[in-house]
Symmetry: C2
Subunit: 302 residues, 2 copies
């Protein structure tokens, strides 16, 4: 089971009653955060989730509204007595930006490890999360993220027998172990059927629509996408400032064939995003104008 | 008239419904902010005050809960189209800390000027504010601030005549001008009576009680002081972490003979500061457990 909470839905600046866009996952005792603008630590407290198991923080890009809350998050983690290293993933320059912000959080009881993204598409596996980072199109270097929990195939007795796998290794192989024994290499694929459908969530914000989004969002159970502008007529601003209209986000959801779309990262000028949703749903019916702390539990299919 | 708002009352970490301690003044079209932890820009928006006239930001010390909101404030000021320079005042190291935080706010449409405090007591006059910064006693270098609006004496016709000041200069001298004319120097003191009582507010947080506070708070209309610990029994923690109990703050208010005391910077463990106030008021009767955005207009005496 993958638990997620869209901690905030605002773009540009935090407002009373609308936090900046940030997404938190919980899976198997490990938490992963994407972006942390000013105030993210407060909305995490409102949600009641904890800082201690935060193992991974992914940053889309270095505009203030996506990272200004980092020192506060790090200090909150320190206060929770975390000792294990934190992995941070983000565009090239991440180490410089984080260390610069740490001028006010210089001493932490845990290490920070970094992966600076340099390719247009990068795959990272950590703490059970399969992370696909992909370049999008904003004013500065920006990445979208697909977070997947893969699911192995069912145990296949006939296959295990056909591959002459000794019975004593069946259980360990089913759990994903690779075993070298009796001068042979035994792999999980020798006892398992085809991988089953896992869980996939894709998150993109601060970008024009791109093919990288269409491709990476394919097969997503949930697609969380920026909607900076509600009105179709704001397309010129969307192009100029490299953001999207609600309808463009809906077009991406339709093109990628995702199951569900949540809009987020609203312009501070939008008070009631839901008034634009009739037009959005004509393009992609299962679309929602998310509000702060919209949450869902995603489970493997029965 | 001096307008002020205690924007938040929390210490250490921002909580849902309790912002970090920060104080904003408005006087004669110019605003002054003391401290800006994470979320300060949001509570300013809740209050409805604007970012554009923010001319001075004073920082007490460089712990995250007192400065982590600075990038957000600077970006909000930029969004408000401010062009005039901002003056920042704080302990030695201010330039390094601010420039380091500006990694996520590198381009601003206004300059920042700095005054790094190096003395135990320093006086600065800017935008009509008379600022007295004084060293207090915390784990790292920390300053308290007295903000005063002085008030000149009444015009004294007899004095002007006795000093043989030509009538044509009376009005300009009354407004504070110094005039060199007819081979003579005319000063406001030649036409004015004794300075009258002005307005004075003293703000100290993150410190043990000190004589510098007692001296600088003298004559304050309002003394805003940290109260990290409500229980008298927490004195050991107060000493260890260099903070104060409510009663210690009340003792300072009594010793300095201020008119009114507001407590702030509560430990996150304190949910209801008012439950400790009976004991506090036995030491200093006009004491208030401030809540977020407690505000007051201070006027010259009739």
């Amino acid at each position: 089971m993958l638990d997620l909470c869209l901690l905030g839905t605002g773009g540009m600046m935090p407002l009373p009653y609308r936090w900046l866009t940030s997404l938190m996952f919980r899976y198997n005792g490990s938490s992963l955060l994407v972006d942390c603008g000013e105030g993210t630590q407060i909305t995490i407290r409102e949600k009641g989730w904890s800082f201690r198991p935060l193992d991974v923080i992914c940053i889309t890009h270095f505009h203030g509204d996506h990272i200004s809350g980092l020192p506060g998050i790090l200090l909150a983690m320190a206060n929770s007595d975390r000792k294990e290293p934190l992995l941070m993933i983000g565009p090239k320059g991440l180490i410089r930006v984080v260390n610069s912000l740490r001028v006010i959080a210089p001493e932490l009881p845990f290490d920070i490890e970094f992966i600076e993204l340099t390719q247009t598409q990068q795959h990272i596996e950590t703490h059970g999360y399969h992370i696909d980072a992909f370049r999008v199109n904003h004013k500065i270097t920006c990445y979208g993220y697909s977070i997947s929990i893969p699911r192995a195939g069912l145990f296949d007795v006939e296959k295990a027998k056909a591959n002459e796998v000794p019975l004593k290794y069946w259980n360990r192989l089913q759990k994903g172990e690779i075993i070298e024994a009796d001068g042979q290499l035994f792999e999980p694929s020798m006892v398992l059927g085809e991988p089953r459908k896992g869980i996939k969530v894709t998150y993109t914000t601060d970008t024009r629509p791109t093919n990288s989004i269409r491709q990476n969002a394919k097969g997503s159970d949930l697609f969380i996408c920026e909607g900076m502008y509600g009105e179709r007529g704001d397309i010129n601003n969307a192009v100029k400032y490299k953001h999207m209209t609600f309808e463009e986000a809906a077009g991406l959801a339709r093109d990628a064939g995702v199951k569900e779309l949540w809009l987020t990262h609203y312009s501070p000028a939008i008070n009631h995003p839901e008034i634009f949703m009739d037009d959005v749903r004509r393009i992609f019916p299962n679309a929602h104008a998310a509000k702060d702390r919209r949450s869902v539990e995603l489970n493997f299919e029965e």
